[in-house]
């Protein structure tokens, strides 16, 4: 096995990876930017290398610095976590060149899946269901009109190199299509330097369901069940769970097989995720493949007993998968909440700052993968995620009740958080019933974002009383009450000693 691994990431995911390395007896190397000198991942790792200034571009995205640190520390492999360099084909090649094993798929798999038109083509070849749409680029208006008609309105115009909604357009009728394609091309050109766009059928109010896959270098590829990630805000996942409330055993088998086919089509190696859109009639369409570990991977771990980070490392080391498809179980139900330093009641403004108090939830069925501590200042430079709060329950109802209990135990002062907003999701009747799709947050926005105004006079008054007591306590501290008592005790002791003489 590897003796030493460098983790090219920060925050909770760096700690998540380090923990599994430690359990495998592997020495861990952290890297850090200026802003992260006090970050927990630096302390929990065995070694730590400074790689640059605070901005990501000058630190966690600097391939040269990271490879230099790996060489200096004699790390044999690099785990990229998620984000940063985790889906960067160039970085995997740089690692190869430096003789360091990149823990993830090869450049071919990353770049094929990274380009949407190429990925679509590959998936169609591999027999994976894709959203009906055009196969390649569209050069003339006649082709555009014909293709759109074949697909049937409404259609989506999408950029091949796209992401984050850029170069994406919803077209409802024939009149709009030519102009929409023109606009999308122009946007795509400026955003990605590539004006290729394609047309896709618009899937109305879909579910976002993804399959975790594992593949070794010997071509053994399995899926490890699905995750339902339809609770999204602006395409950002908020709550994830497994199993999906929508899933049936038959559908899982069918979709799982296609996820495996998708991975095999690009000779995938490591852990990856194949994302699908699923409509209300349970038609499903390949959306994209994420060629790395996902933030929501723990819900899969909790329900299958598989440590996905350890599997990644074993695969990267060249081991054969120890699991066969039929060994994968699905035990109970797991859910994850992403806890962010943001002001949910104020349009989710980021809320960086110093943690003045933190009490993390614990106890039966609760796992909190975090990295903050009291006194830590959440840097302004990176993603504002504080932790992933994961629960396991024997069924969905127990998982929901446990998540509510855990959210209730979780107390953070110093930054605003999404905790109260999340609590409302777990109190929403349709969510509890398992009836939700990607439109969920929008549909119930009024309920979910209702300001938590306090209607309880007692609680206000008790808060006022507590503030009053705190003020009194401070005043008495300044007037040295405590020191006086201290002195009196010594006097008392002296006096008693005196009497004894």
């Amino acid at each position: 096995m590897f003796k030493k691994i460098l983790i090219a990431n920060r925050g909770e995911i760096a700690i998540r990876v380090i923990r599994s390395c430690k359990e495998m007896g592997i020495t861990t190397v952290a890297v850090y930017s200026d802003a992260d000198r006090r970050s927990l991942h630096v302390r929990i790792a065995d070694e730590a290398y400074h790689i640059g200034e605070s901005s990501s571009a000058q630190s966690y995205l600097r391939m040269d610095k990271i490879i230099e640190a790996a060489k200096k520390s004699n790390a044999e492999a690099i785990h990229p976590g998620y984000g940063f360099l985790s889906e960067n084909a160039e970085f995997t090649e740089a690692c190869n060149k430096a003789g360091i094993k990149f823990i993830g798929p090869d450049a071919y798999a990353i770049s094929t899946m990274g380009d949407k038109i190429t990925a679509r083509k590959k998936m169609i070849e591999a027999g994976v269901s894709v959203v009906p749409g055009t196969k390649g680029e569209m050069r003339d208006n006649a082709t555009i009109l014909k293709s759109a008609k074949e697909i049937g309105y409404p259609v989506m115009v999408k950029a091949s190199a796209g992401g984050g909604g850029k170069g994406m357009r919803l077209v409802k009728s024939e009149e709009e299509i030519i102009n929409a394609v023109k606009m999308a091309k122009s946007e795509a050109k400026s955003a990605f330097g590539n004006d290729a766009v394609y047309l896709e059928k618009f899937v109305n109010s879909p579910h976002h369901i993804e399959f975790q896959v594992l593949a070794d270098k010997f071509g053994n590829t399995i899926h490890i069940n699905e995750r339902e990630c339809s609770v999204q805000r602006r395409h950002q996942k908020v709550v994830e769970e497994t199993p999906s409330p929508l899933m049936t055993a038959a559908l899982r088998q069918k979709m799982g097989a296609e996820a495996v086919a998708a991975a095999k089509a690009v000779n995938y190696e490591g852990a990856g995720t194949v994302e699908f859109l699923v409509d209300n009639d349970l038609n499903y369409y390949f959306l994209e493949m994420n060629t790395r570990l996902q933030v929501e991977h723990p819900v899969t771990e909790q329900t299958t007993g598989i440590d996905l980070v350890k599997e990644q490392i074993r695969i990267a080391y060249g081991e054969k998968l120890s699991l066969k498809q039929e060994d994968v179980i699905l035990f109970g139900h797991s859910m994850e909440c992403r806890i962010y330093a943001e002001d949910a009641e104020n349009n989710f403004m980021p809320s960086p700052g110093k943690i003045k108090y933190v009490k993390e939830p614990a106890g039966i069925g609760v796992r909190n993968d975090g990295y903050i501590y009291k006194g830590f200042e959440i840097p302004i430079h990176y993603d504002p995620m504080i932790s992933k709060l994961i629960v396991w329950g024997k069924d969905r109802q127990e998982a929901i009740n446990r998540m509510k209990r855990a959210l209730c135990e979780y107390r953070i002062i110093g930054v605003k958080t999404s905790i109260r907003f999340l609590m409302k999701i777990f109190e929403n009747k349709e969510f509890i019933a398992g009836n939700y799709n990607t439109q969920f947050i929008e549909t119930y926005s009024e309920e979910l974002f209702s300001g938590a105004t306090c209607e309880n006079e007692d609680i206000e008054n008790i808060s006022a009383i507590t503030v009053f007591l705190e003020y009194l306590d401070q005043v008495s501290l300044h007037s040295s009450t405590i020191n006086t008592q201290q002195i009196n005790k010594w006097k008392d002791y002296g006096r008693r000693k005196g009497i004894g003489n």
Binding site: K356, R411, G414, R420, I462, L469
Partner: protein, 172 residues
């Protein structure tokens, strides 16, 4: 001992009637509360009222020792103690406000991305003065009245703290 505490925007008058060990009798406006209260750690109070258990986390928000964030099971409050000193300062501040300058600042730390104005420039209510980025999200800060830019205290690219004065506006 008597003073005022502002909870969010509600002003409450409090008076300590009596104290015996951890049992406090306190009047809040017209109601009397007998609570058993202990400070378990520097930031956490455990308060029992009629045997109902409340936990309140409390953190100072500035150096005055009079402004606090208070957190209970379901709510968070901004709280402020108004004692004699505060009242004096408030009365002075009101005088100053009469011919005051507007100070543009941000509620959180970040980085100055763009300054849209120059010193001496006239701006209208709603004009963007400065753009600040934190955690990859940019926010525009606008003038809330017609003003003149008196002074710009930062440069583009500067790292800034929360509540730090960035741009000072004044009446024409």
């Amino acid at each position: 001992m008597e003073l005022e505490v502002k909870i969010n925007n509600k002003l409450k008058k409090l008076e300590l009637i009596s104290q015996e060990d951890e049992i406090y009798t306190i009047r809040v406006d017209d109601e009397f509360y007998e609570v058993i209260a202990v400070k378990t750690t520097p930031q956490v109070y455990s308060v029992l009222l009629d045997n109902i258990s409340y936990t309140l986390e409390i953190a100072k928000t500035d150096f005055s020792g009079k402004k606090f964030n208070v957190s209970t099971k379901n709510y968070k409050f901004m709280a402020k103690v108004i004692d004699a000193q505060t009242k004096y300062q408030q009365s002075r501040k009101q005088e100053n406000d009469e011919n005051s300058s507007d100070i543009i600042s941000t509620p959180m730390p970040g980085q100055v991305i763009k300054i849209m104005v120059a010193e001496g420039q006239k701006v209208k209510s709603g004009d963007t003065i400065i753009i600040v980025e934190a955690m990859k999200m940019q926010s525009e800060y606008k003038a809330s009245n017609d003003r003149i830019v008196k002074e710009i205290l930062v440069e583009e690219g500067d790292k800034i703290k929360g509540h730090q004065p960035l741009v000072i506006l004044e009446k024409e």
